[in-house]
């Protein structure tokens, strides 16, 4: 185990995989000489050379397409798209090519491509550079989308993504890069499509991924301390495939759930989770599933407005308390019901 940042974990894993497998190469804007906009690729050009760390023009569709081709021919390219916002320029390559080729051409070739890209707001980067549009990719069969929330998961899921034979969108988050955590020293990849119960609890299930999984965990710890609420936290880790079993098993246990997400509410990831719960745990629900998401606005630049629009720990805690209020929860043993009869 080593304590390190999320950024370091991604860096070290890329480095280790490039050392392990000569077919692994990096493609992206400013990843070589500049060492990446978020310094993920620091030192890698020096170690592996221009052939395996390719700086590209500002042309996402072009270099993503080049990576798809490289993957089809047997390499294991890891594309860095500076932020997920710019992936929109490469939508056609990702959705119509990377995700389709294996199925459309009878399995003649798989596409072992990884697209690393950070999402998230809160950095005052404006509405076009602060989005959470991983849903676009999680929507598409043929794609895999993973969204680690911790340095350890960043390592384990990046290992899995690089070694997977299908295109994987590896979602990072600007707000997570400097978070720290223990990272195992061994190179055991995670199983893509497996959520994690990051805190076991009995009263309510909080479900999130990426940054909001860490928010959920923080809120759970706070509520345990301040209110005595025993929150179970599910970190999805993978948006496609989605680990419906873990979600359903948790809600079947707790009877109520709040889904937290950094994207917009309407049609968001949370809607899919809520539907999953309704399908699998309907007879176990004691309250409607609540969702906490970003305000339905283009994210403002002004700091107070940006902060107000993003879901906060306060918002999550409130949704948890309101849901538990609705089922008459109170700390400790179940309280006596209201027996007062007014006369």
């Amino acid at each position: 185990m080593s304590m390190m940042t999320y950024r370091q974990a991604v860096h070290d894993t890329l480095q280790a995989e490039m050392r392990r497998d000569p077919d692994v190469l990096l493609i992206g804007e400013e990843i070589g000489v500049f060492e990446g906009s978020y310094k993920i690729t620091a030192g890698l050009l020096a170690e592996f050379g221009e052939k395996r760390v390719r700086d590209t023009p500002i042309a996402e569709e072009g270099f993503t397409g080049a990576a798809v081709g490289a993957a089809m021919l047997g390499l294991r390219p890891v594309v860095e798209i500076m932020t997920i916002n710019f992936s929109l320029l490469a939508l056609d390559q990702i959705i119509n090519h990377a995700a389709k080729i294996y199925g459309m051409f009878g399995g003649q070739t798989s596409v072992p491509l990884v697209i690393r890209t950070p999402g998230g707001g809160g950095q005052q980067l404006g509405a076009t550079h602060s989005q959470n549009i991983e849903l676009f990719y999680a929507f598409v069969p043929g794609m895999k989308v993973v969204a680690p929330s911790t340095p350890a998961d960043a390592k384990a899921l990046l290992l899995a993504a690089i070694r997977d034979d299908d295109p994987v969108l590896f979602l990072e988050n600007l707000a997570l890069y400097n978070t720290r955590g223990e990272v195992p020293d061994d190179d055991t990849p995670a199983e893509i499509g497996r959520a994690a119960v990051t805190r076991a609890g009995t009263d309510i299930t909080l479900i999130g991924y990426s940054r909001m999984a860490t928010v959920a965990l923080a809120v759970a710890e706070d509520l345990a301390r301040t209110d005595g609420i025993d929150v179970e936290v599910v970190d999805l880790r993978s948006l496609r495939p989605l680990d419906r079993e873990t979600i359903v098993a948790s809600v079947r246990k707790t009877g109520c759930a709040v889904v937290v997400e950094d994207d917009w509410l309407t049609y968001g990831i949370g809607a899919e989770i809520a539907a999953t719960i309704s399908d699998g745990a309907f007879d176990h629900l004691d309250a409607p599933v609540r969702r906490v998401a970003m305000a339905e606005v283009p994210l403002p630049y002004a700091k107070p407005l940006e902060t107000a629009a993003l879901p906060s720990t306060h918002d999550v805690a409130r949704a948890v308390r309101e849901t538990l209020d609705a089922v008459g929860w109170s700390a400790g043993a179940p309280t006596q019901p209201t027996t007062e009869t007014r006369s």
Partner: protein
């Protein structure tokens, strides 16, 4: 503002069904006026207004059921200065728990769901409660019985978890008080009701339960049919399947349900046995003929065989106080209550179910008095006008199917009474009298008893006395 609440009209009453509203919304009510008719577990009773005012709001419409203490209507008192409309709405708010300090929301009367949790300055926050009208503000048919229009009266809502648990425990959710948003029954409410014993079991009837109804619809149409399908093949699902063969569901009355529950209780908790004897009632038949002729001549009502049997029972019970008893729980363990009074319940079959009005102090009444009492009670029973008092306090029951040609049957003890008499038909049979075969009128009598209160010898002795009275009937009218 004056809240009219569901009154407690009998000791065993838990809820009442509004049969009809005598007063209409907007009408002026004077104290003492009949407001509403309420069907309890025992009877349909009229309820008077205790105060004068204007009826502004009928909370529980006819056909609906409310638990004791629940508000069923709202009157505007003479002191109220606000208009009825204003008052009505504020009453509704208070009743659904929006009013400050009101911690016992009762939103069964809540046609409009409560506002969502305050969004305040976070109005743009895209959590579910702000982005939508509120998680409680679901359309009626989402969480409640489908097909009911808003304003069609109060409805029960409950969480899916509660509906599953209720199915598993066989609980009638209308007996559970909901404390969740909009009065929704949540798991805690069900657990509390099971813990304190107020959760009523669903009897094996076909009462149209709004929740069962909603489940039916889901089961029929939803993808979750497998998970919601009741496991019990005798449940309504099976009944619904029978619709194709022409079975038709009829709602049960409160009286039918309470009768079913008590019979179930009797057969499952009271150890019973019965003893049977045949009485030679030739002389009784002759006596009755004489009596009837006299009574008709005098312009009075005829007495029936049953009146004579009831009178005979009363006398026999006075001679056997051990049978006129109850085995009941006492503060320091079970006790045997010997009743000083002889109050005989008479089973009356009506088109709305079996009822058992009680002839009080039957041992002190002459046969004509028994007749008058029974006839009056039976008429009230058929008109559904029996009062609770008229059905309480029985110490023994007579059930007579003789007029329907039944030779012999065994009745189920009516707790807490210790014994019940089943009376068969009078029939002419060959009998041996003084060594010769002759035709005699005979009647078979079966006494079922609670073995905890009465043993075999006691039951036999009582029956022997009864047979003796019927065979030498002058004592009955003496």
């Amino acid at each position: 503002m004056i809240e009219i609440r569901m009154p407690r009209l009998s000791d065993t009453m838990e809820e009442g069904t509004i049969t009809s509203w005598t007063a209409t919304v907007g009408s002026t009510v004077t104290a003492g006026d009949v407001l509403v008719e309420i069907e309890t577990d025992k009877a349909v009773m009229e309820q008077e207004a205790f105060e004068s005012g204007t009826l502004t709001h009928i909370v529980v419409p006819a056909g609906e059921t409310a638990r004791i203490g629940e508000v069923i209507a709202v009157l505007d008192g003479p002191d109220d200065l606000e208009t009825p409309a204003q008052k009505g709405s504020s009453a509704a708010e208070e009743l659904r728990g929006d009013a400050p300090g009101d911690d016992a929301p009762d939103s069964r009367l809540d046609d409009t769901p409560p506002a969502p949790p305050a969004a305040g300055s976070d109005a743009t926050r895209a959590d579910t409660s702000a982005a939508q009208p509120g998680d409680d503000a679901v359309p009626d048919d989402v969480d409640g019985p489908a097909g009911r229009a808003p304003g069609d009266g109060p409805r029960l809502t409950s969480s899916p978890l509660v509906r599953r648990l209720a199915r598993e425990h066989g609980v009638d959710l209308s007996s559970v008080r909901g404390t969740g948003p909009g009065g929704r029954i949540v798991r805690r409410d069900l657990e509390a009701a099971l813990d304190d014993g107020t959760a009523r079991q669903l009897s094996d009837d076909t009462s149209p339960h709004p929740l069962a109804d909603a489940d039916q619809r889901r089961t029929a149409g939803g993808p979750s049919a497998q998970t919601t399908a009741p496991a019990d093949p005798t449940s309504r699902s099976a009944g619904a399947a029978d619709l194709a063969r022409g079975s038709v569901e009829h709602p049960t009355t409160a009286a039918q349900r309470i009768s079913a529950e008590r019979l179930t209780q009797s057969t499952s908790t009271v150890p019973q046995f019965s003893v049977t004897a045949t009485a030679d009632v030739t002389d009784l038949v002759a006596l009755r003929s004489t009596l009837v002729a006299e009574l008709v001549a005098a312009g009075r009502a005829k007495v029936s065989m049953n009146d004579l049997v009831v009178r005979a029972c009363a006398l026999a019970l006075r001679a056997h106080p051990d049978v006129n008893a109850s085995y009941e729980a006492g503060p320091e363990g079970p006790v045997l209550l010997r009743h000083e009074r002889v109050n005989i319940g008479v089973a009356v079959a009506t088109d709305h179910g079996l009822v058992v009005p009680v002839v009080r102090d039957a041992d002190t009444l002459p046969v004509s008095g028994v007749h008058d009492a029974v006839a009056g009670l039976a008429a009230a029973a058929h008109a559904r006008r029996l009062t609770v008092a008229q059905m309480q306090g029985g110490t023994f029951t007579v059930s007579n199917l003789g007029m329907l040609g039944v030779e012999h049957f065994r009745a189920i003890v009516n707790p807490p009474e210790a014994a019940i008499l089943a009376v068969g038909a009078v029939r002419q049979e060959p009998a041996v009298v003084d060594g010769a075969v002759v035709v005699r009128d005979r009647m078979t009598l079966t006494v079922s008893v609670d073995h905890r209160a009465v043993d075999g010898a006691g039951a036999a002795a009582f029956l022997q006395t009864l047979v003796g009275l019927l065979e030498r009937p002058w004592a009955i009218v003496g």
